[in-house]
Structures are given as structure tokens and as C-alpha cells.
């Protein structure tokens, strides 16, 4: 048993040491196109607690930076206080630009309210919620608008909505779901964005949006969203968003997924073996009474 303990400790320490040494942010050069700064953003990021997410706001912001994002919107489920904490901490520590927001989770629709300061009640129609977002100076985004949510967005709601997620990880699950997102996006003059709906699984910014902004500030990004200055690429390299900006970008923004290095693979393998050794030592599989 002692040997197993030492093995567990050794593997975990080796894994953490190697993982920490290789833990560098991806440096993304500042890109200017057509007189605009191109900002890589993810507007649908959840943080611990109260939103089914695993990382605390400060970890979320740092991890976003590591994934090469310039800006994120931390959106709490029906609350904004966690995003305010995230914005404050990111400012204090020189992290990426954090926009405050809320995912208004209702029984009939999910709506992202970006750039707001007060929580918006989920017990109202989508039209009314969008109106409240605008009253606070925010931008209203239809979150993963699959067919099941379409009836909540009546003609008036679609007319006042600013943005729709045309790309989301669910689009990778099936072509049918991807088509539903594209159909909603085409149903009204909306700004296209791609979001990862990050809850802690996988990398932040798996789906991301390139925002063409005059100034790299919260207001600059919100303004760009209102005026449709975005480009989004899907897995196959198809682009969505402003046609002129897509031509301007012309493949400049497509990013290759970096291959895992040998050290990274070692860190993962040693970490998992270490955790298995931790679980094996001292666990009871039928009844814990016989343990010391």
C-alpha cells in the first residue's frame, strides 16, 4: 500500500511539474484588417459557481488567454454577479477583456445579454427580455437557437434581436442541428457569432468569433456586434458574417489546432495514472468497514 501511495504522489507531482512548465499562453499577434483591430472572442462562457461550470472566474479568464482569446463574455445563468467578479479580477491581473453578461435561461428560450449590469428576470417573453437588454445598453444574442426555441422568437423578437449563434459545439454533433442554427440566422438580419458555450469541458473558444472593432474596449466590441462586423469559421472552413469582411480576411483568421507535444502527452498520461493510483489506494469497493 505504501508503494502505491508513493507511486501516486510521484506520478502526480511529475505530471503537475511537466504540465506547469509547458503551460504557456498562445501569443496571438495583433491583427489589423481594413483599419479595424481583429479581436478573437467567445461570448458564451460560464464560470463557477451557479452556472453548471467548473472553473472560477479568475481561472476562466486566464484559461481564455491561454487559448488565444482577446475577449470573453462571462455569462451567469440568470445572474450577472459572477461575470462582474470575472471582469474585476481580469482587469486587476492583466487578463483578457471580460464583458459582463447573463444567459437568460427561460423555459422557452436562452438569450445572452452582453454588456449589462443588472440581472434580467427570466420569467418574461423573449421580446420583453430583449427590450430590457437594450435598455441597459447591452446586446441581445439568441443562444443556440435550435428549432425547439424558434416559437419563442416571434416576428417582433427577431426584428429587435441583434445577434445569433450560427456556430456552437452542438453543430458538430449533427448536420441537422448545424442546419437549424443556420436557418435561424438566415431568418432575420442578424450578426453572426460562434461561441463555445463553455462549461468547463474542452477548450474555451472551441467555436469563436472574430470581431472587427475600431477600439479594443467593451463598448467597441458591443458596437461591432450591433453593426454586424464579425466573421465566424466552421470546422470545414466555411465563413459566416459580413461578406466584405470575409473577403478582407480571406483565410487570414483560420487557425490550425496545435498538435499535442511529447511533454504534454506525458503530463496527461502521468496525471491519469497518478489519479488511478490515488483511487486504488484506500478505496473500498464493497464495504468500507475493513479498512484502516
Amino acid at each position: 500500500m505504501t508503494a502505491l501511495r508513493w507511486t501516486a504522489a510521484g506520478l502526480l507531482l511529475a505530471s503537475i511539474a511537466v504540465g506547469t512548465i509547458g503551460d504557456a499562453s498562445r501569443v496571438r499577434p495583433h491583427l489589423m484588417l481594413g483599419g479595424c483591430r481583429v479581436v478573437a472572442a467567445d461570448f458564451h462562457v460560464h464560470s463557477f459557481p451557479l452556472s453548471w461550470a467548473t472553473l472560477a472566474p479568475w481561472d476562466t479568464a486566464w484559461e481564455a488567454q491561454r487559448q488565444g482569446l482577446d475577449a470573453i463574455a462571462i455569462v451567469g445563468h440568470n445572474h450577472v454577479w459572477v461575470s462582474k467578479v470575472g471582469r474585476w479580477l481580469s482587469r486587476m491581473t492583466g487578463g483578457p477583456l471580460v464583458l459582463t453578461g447573463e444567459e437568460i435561461v427561460s423555459a422557452h428560450y436562452h438569450l445572452l445579454a452582453i454588456g449589462i449590469d443588472s440581472t434580467i428576470d427570466w420569467r418574461q417573453s423573449a421580446t420583453s427580455a430583449i427590450e430590457q437588454v437594450h435598455r441597459q445598453g447591452g446586446v441581445a444574442i439568441a443562444a443556440h437557437p435550435l428549432a425547439q426555441y424558434w416559437t419563442a422568437y416571434d416576428a417582433q423578437a427577431r426584428h429587435t434581436l441583434d445577434v445569433a449563434e450560427v456556430l456552437h459545439p452542438i453543430a458538430h454533433a449533427s448536420e441537422d442541428l448545424a442546419a437549424q442554427l443556420r436557418t435561424f440566422y438566415s431568418s432575420a438580419p442578424l450578426t453572426a457569432i460562434g461561441d463555445s458555450d463553455y462549461h468547463g469541458l474542452g477548450p474555451i473558444g472551441l467555436c469563436r468569433t472574430y470581431v472587427f472593432t475600431k477600439e479594443e474596449t467593451e463598448q467597441g466590441i458591443l458596437d461591432a456586434l450591433r453593426h454586424g462586423r464579425t466573421v465566424v469559421y466552421d470546422r470545414a472552413g466555411n465563413a459566416y458574417g459580413d461578406a466584405a469582411l470575409i473577403r478582407l480576411a480571406a483565410g487570414n483568421l483560420l487557425r490550425a489546432t496545435p498538435a499535442a507535444g511529447l511533454l504534454s502527452m506525458f503530463s496527461r498520461l502521468a496525471g491519469i495514472l497518478g489519479l488511478i493510483a490515488v483511487a486504488l489506494q484506500g478505496s473500498a469497493w464493497r464495504c468500507p468497514t475493513g479498512l484502516r
Binding site: L12, S15, I16, G19, T20, G22, D23, F48, P49, L50, S51, W52, T54, L55, A56, W58, D59, E63, R66, G76, H77, N78, H79, V105, S106, A107, H108, W122, P169, H172, A173, G200, L201, G202, P203, I204, L206, T257, S264, S267, R268, L269, A270, G271, I272, G274, L275, I276, V278, A279, L280, G282, S283, A284, W285, R286, C287, P288, T289, L291
Partner: protein
């Protein structure tokens, strides 16, 4: 330095949780993520200790509460392997494909682990706590009710009522 018995196994559960958060997020084990996550995810073992205290405190006999906590957390092996499975998926499967594997693992393996851990914990209450079968079952349910309610409230929070409402709408209620 010996870690007091009360904290030993709950601390291990917190460490596994912290490492899990690092591995599933960044496909690597880093001090930057695993350290803080171990700290704030310790609300899970703390909630479980609260649930255990509620059902064990009035009836404790031969075992000290420290020993009860230690033995109770020794039954967490199935949960730890479930977490490690999640780590393996997000460490070695590309992200797009990992979502599909995760769904199967979360619900498929999760269902098995819920039953398996209930069996272990029932035996803990039955034999370590020397409860009658009926009382052991009651304690198990009460411990789950208290600790899982705390965990779900902290983890999910304000989205739970509309999610329940959405389910009811889905069933036409």
C-alpha cells in the same frame, strides 16, 4: 507530518476533483488550474460531510466522527474512477468527438456509479454504523438528499427552476 484522519480522504477527493478540472479543461495537469480548483471544489466533500453529520451525529456509538468520515469517504472509489474516465476522454480524444463520448460516460457510467456507490454507502451505514437495514436505507437517502441538494444548488443554482419548467413544458404539463 501526519494529516489528521478526519481530513485525509476528503482531501484526496478534493485533490482528484481539482486535477479533474485541470485535465478536462486544458488536457493537462497544471498547478495554475489544479491548485485553485482543489480549493473551491472542496465544497463537494464539505457538503457530503454536512450530510453525513446530519444523519450520523445523533446515533454515533463506537466510532468517532473522524473515523466515520474517513470510512465513508473510503467508499468513493467508484466516483473517483468516474472522474478519471472523464479526464481520460478529454485528455486523449479530440474535443469535437469528446463531447459525444462524454454524454455516454456521464449518463451511462454515471448511472452505474450512482447504484454502486449507494450499495457501498448502504453497507457503511449497515455495518460500520450498525444500523438496521431500514435505518441504513433511510440514512443513505437522507445523506444523499442533504449533500446533493447543497452540491446541485451551488453548481447549478438559478438555472434549475427554468430548466425544470422547460422539462414540464416538454412533457406538455
Amino acid at each position: 507530518m501526519r494529516v489528521p484522519i478526519f481530513w485525509r480522504r476528503p482531501l484526496l477527493v478534493a485533490v482528484v476533483l481539482g486535477c479533474t478540472m485541470s485535465l478536462i479543461t486544458s488536457a493537462g495537469l497544471t498547478l495554475r488550474l489544479a491548485g485553485p480548483a482543489t480549493f473551491y471544489w472542496s465544497f463537494v466533500p464539505l457538503a457530503e460531510i454536512a450530510g453525513l453529520a446530519a444523519v450520523c451525529w445523533p446515533g454515533r456509538r463506537a466510532l468517532s466522527f473522524s473515523r466515520q468520515v474517513d470510512l465513508f469517504f473510503a467508499g468513493h472509489g467508484p466516483w473517483l474512477f468516474w472522474l478519471i474516465g472523464l479526464c481520460a476522454i478529454w485528455s486523449f480524444v479530440p474535443p469535437i468527438e469528446a463531447f459525444a463520448c462524454t454524454k455516454v460516460w456521464l449518463y451511462g457510467a454515471g448511472a452505474i456509479v450512482i447504484v454502486w456507490s449507494a450499495f457501498i454507502d448502504f453497507r457503511f451505514f449497515r455495518f460500520a454504523m450498525e444500523r438496521s437495514p431500514a435505518r441504513a436505507a433511510r440514512d443513505l437517502l437522507l445523506q444523499r438528499l442533504i449533500s446533493w441538494t447543497i452540491i446541485i444548488a451551488i453548481f447549478g443554482g438559478p438555472a434549475i427552476p427554468p430548466e425544470i419548467a422547460a422539462r414540464l413544458v416538454g412533457f406538455g404539463l
